[in-house]
Each structure stands twice: as structure tokens, then as C-alpha cells.
């Protein structure tokens, strides 16, 4: 289990996830806050279904689980580009 990767972005193993679930972290958002799982470049596309399955095996069926909170942006953006867009907006006004 220590060589089985659940989150490729942040290198979180199956062992770590099972320990956390046993410790009482029983939602995607809770596990995310401890491990940063789901916060990397794939934004949870790899791990979220695997976590759902682990939680289901621990007695929390998918229908009762709260999915992770998803927020923009979907991929990384340079702050410089956001600043440029804001400047253009000001000019348009």
C-alpha cells in the first residue's frame, strides 16, 4: 500500500489515505486539507473517484459523500496575465 499512489500530483499513497480514514477524516475535502490531494495540476481528476471508492469501502456510500469543492481556475494562470486583463478592463470603462 505504501507503493500504491492515489494522488499523482502530490504523491499521496493508499496507505496514507487509509490511515486518515481510520483516523476519522471521512470526506474528500477533509483528506484534501491534510494532504493537498486534489489540489495539484489535475485538480482531482485522478484521485477523486479512487477516494470515493476508499470511503465507500469504509462504510460511506457514494450517495452520502460530499464531493470536493471545485473552484476556478481549472488550470494554473500567471498572475501577470490576470493583472493585464484587469488593466484592459479599466481602459474599457
Amino acid at each position: 500500500m505504501e507503493n500504491t499512489i492515489i494522488c499523482r500530483c502530490s504523491d499521496v499513497t493508499l496507505l496514507r489515505v487509509r490511515q486518515l480514514i481510520a483516523d476519522g477524516y471521512t470526506s474528500m475535502d477533509e483528506i484534501k486539507r491534510i494532504t493537498r490531494l486534489g489540489m495539484g495540476s489535475c485538480q482531482g481528476k485522478t484521485c477523486s473517484l479512487l477516494i470515493m471508492r476508499e470511503l465507500a469501502a469504509a462504510g460511506f456510500p457514494p450517495a452520502t459523500q460530499t464531493p470536493q469543492t471545485t473552484r476556478p481556475p481549472a488550470v494554473g494562470v500567471k498572475l501577470e496575465l490576470i493583472a493585464k486583463e484587469a488593466e484592459n478592463n479599466e481602459k474599457q470603462r
Partner: protein
């Protein structure tokens, strides 16, 4: 900020068809596509499609993409390639990124989200070794970029993607050692399974991967038989030398933009995971946000194209562009979908879609 009537996110089969039908109805359309080219997964599909004439049956996926490209050019449709939608906000604003060069904002009258699906992953020891790949990724390397992706492959998953990619790997001269599936029965169409079986590839049902083996790169795959409760049977392990393990264990809808927008989602296993609830006009729980294709339930490209036409028709109607024959078009498209989903192969889709139905009046 760019204002537009209809913003379509995704230029795969569903997105392109929705743009074409909405534009035909009179809407002006902007399409965002994160890839450098249109067509989505169609451009790597070198096999001929099933279905009926309306969905280009007996035509190769890659040729269908060309047909759609010609159609797009005839209408008021602005294509923005290399442009990734980043978010949909409460006020209906959409943000996007062009390459890594420009950050943009859009204010559309209506949105159709047609972002498709992504490959599922599996948990097994050493699953992060180089050489462990998604079957779809291998297919992209091979059919889109012309790169020989592997020498010796173990394919995990005997669904249609696993079977078709195995066949195409063999066409490219790759040695496919075996195809595994945890289920006791082959999931894909038997016509595809027979083709690879005739070429001498063993399809091992009730088998899975126990672990990937290798130091810096995959060198072998340890496989194991499963009992009828999917438990590994000790003593049945076998080590198969291979440089690539293709994981083809299904797709899951990409609906993160819908989640950001606050659309009601539900876990529906028959549709591949979390999916948006939608009305008969393909509108989500958030007004003016529509969906089409794999984003709202994993199926195949033929159904995605028909769903695209329906979403395009209905989104255009919302914007005030109602063709005289709206009812006839709408019912004809729904009849096409019913035909595609008929029979035992479509049963899980029919069940799943019934659970994803959103009744706004209720």
C-alpha cells in the same frame, strides 16, 4: 471582456454539433477549445463508426471531424483554439486562458458545456511507474502524433476502448501480450473482441493487475485471477514481461466547470461518476447553462453528436432563435437517440439518464 450570444465549451463531437445547430437556428456562437485542433477524441479514431446514417455510420472518426470542420465554416461560428475555459462564475461570466499568453473574460447569453470525459485511474502497487499509461493517452500518441508508444503491451480492460486500442496497437506493429478484465465477461462489443482474439491475443476475464514491476521504467506486469467477489486468488499470479501497461478502466465525465457554476450534480455510476442533472432541453439546474455529450454521462461519439444538436437547438431557442420546424427537429433527434440507446447494450445508459432527469416544475 467579450460578449457573445452562445458560448460552447469544447469542440469535440458534442460541442461542434451544438454549435452547428445553434448557428443554423440563427444564434451567433463562440466555441472554446483547449487543444490546438477541433474534433476532440474523433481525431484519433481510425475505426469506422456504427449507428445510422445521421451519425455518419461506416465513416472513420477522423473523417467525421473533417465533415464537421467543413460545416462549422459555413456558419456564424467563431472558433478559439488553444483556449482553455477556466471557470464559470455566479454572474454568468466565463474566464479562459489562451495558451499561456492571454487571460480572457466572456459574458455569454447562454453556455453549452461539452467538455467530454477523462480516463479513470486504478490503485495498484507501483502504479506511478513510467510505462503505466491510460489507453486513451497511448492512442493519442500513436494516432494523433505518430509516435510508436510501446513495444510490448499489457492491456487492462476489455471494454470497447481497450479492445479497439489493442487492435490499433497491433496495426502499428506493437506486440499486445494479453488483455485483462476484472469482470467475468468481456465488456466491449464482441465484433471488436473477435478481431483481436483472431490475431492471437488472449483475453483473460476475471483477471487484474497485482502490481507493476520495474526500477525506473516498467519491465513486467504481475497479473492475478479474481474470484466471483473480485478477490485475488493466491497462487494464480503470473509475471508478464512488458514495457507498457495500458489502463482502460472506463471514463468519467469532466464536469468541474458545472460544479463551479453551482449546477446540481449527482453520483450516477451508470453514467461514469458525478454528472449534472438536466432537463429534457438539456439545461442544468442553473438557468442558461446547457450540457451535451460525455460531460453529462459517458457514452460514445454518435450519441454525443445527437445530444449536441439537441442542446444547440434548445440553447438557441432560449436566446430567441426558434426555427419554424423546432418541434419536428427536436422529436427527430430524440428518436435517433432512442435508437442508439435501444437494446441491452444501452440499458445502463437508459437507467442512468432516468436518474439524471431534472424536472424544473417540481
Amino acid at each position: 471582456m467579450i460578449t457573445c450570444e452562445l458560448l460552447v465549451i469544447g469542440a469535440g463531437p458534442a460541442g461542434l454539433c451544438s454549435a452547428i445547430t445553434a448557428a443554423k437556428s440563427g444564434a451567433s456562437v463562440v466555441v472554446l477549445e483547449r487543444s490546438p485542433d477541433i474534433g476532440g477524441q474523433l481525431i484519433k479514431q481510425t475505426h469506422m463508426f456504427f449507428g445510422s446514417k445521421e451519425q455518419h455510420a461506416s465513416t472513420r472518426g477522423v473523417d467525421i471531424a473533417e465533415i464537421l470542420r467543413e460545416e462549422i465554416a459555413r456558419y456564424d461560428i467563431k472558433l478559439m483554439l488553444d483556449t482553455t475555459a477556466l471557470g464559470i462564475y455566479e454572474d454568468g461570466m466565463v474566464t479562459a486562458l489562451y495558451k499561456e499568453e492571454e487571460y480572457m473574460k466572456f459574458k455569454p447569453g447562454a453556455i453549452i458545456v461539452a467538455t467530454g470525459a477523462c480516463e479513470r485511474f486504478l490503485a495498484f502497487p507501483n502504479n506511478d511507474l513510467p510505462g503505466v499509461c491510460g489507453a486513451g493517452a497511448v492512442q493519442t500518441l500513436m494516432n494523433v502524433y505518430g509516435i510508436m508508444p510501446a513495444k510490448d503491451v499489457v492491456m487492462l480492460g476489455a471494454g470497447n476502448i481497450g479492445l479497439i486500442v489493442s487492435y490499433q496497437l497491433m496495426q502499428a506493429g506493437v506486440n499486445v501480450k494479453c488483455i485483462l478484465d476484472a469482470a467475468p465477461k468481456i465488456g466491449g462489443y464482441l465484433v471488436h473482441a473477435s478481431k483481436v482474439a483472431r490475431m492471437g491475443v488472449p483475453i483473460k476475464t476475471s483477471h487484474t493487475v497485482k502490481r507493476a514491476i520495474g526500477e525506473d521504467h516498467l519491465t513486467a506486469v504481475e497479473i492475478v485471477a479474481l474470484d466471483d467477489k473480485f478477490n485475488q486468488i493466491p497462487g494464480t499470479e503470473e509475471i508478464i514481461p512488458a514495457d507498457t501497461l495500458c489502463v482502460s478502466v472506463g471514463l468519467t465525465p469532466l464536469c468541474e466547470l458545472l460544479a463551479m457554476a453551482g449546477c446540481k450534480l449527482s453520483y450516477i455510476p451508470q453514467l461514469g461518476g458525478m454528472v449534472p442533472l438536466k432537463t429534457g432541453e438539456y439545461e442544468t439546474s442553473v438557468p442558461n447553462i446547457f450540457v451535451a455529450g460525455d460531460t453529462s454521462g459517458v457514452e460514445e461519439a454518435s450519441a454525443a453528436m445527437v445530444e449536441g444538436h439537441i442542446a444547440g437547438l434548445c440553447a438557441a431557442k432560449r436566446l430567441g432563435h426558434i426555427p419554424e420546424d423546432f418541434d419536428a427537429q427536436y422529436s427527430s433527434l430524440n428518436r435517433q437517440l432512442m435508437a442508439l440507446r435501444s437494446g441491452p447494450a444501452g440499458e445502463h445508459i437508459r437507467q442512468g439518464l432516468a436518474s439524471a432527469c431534472l424536472n424544473k416544475e417540481a
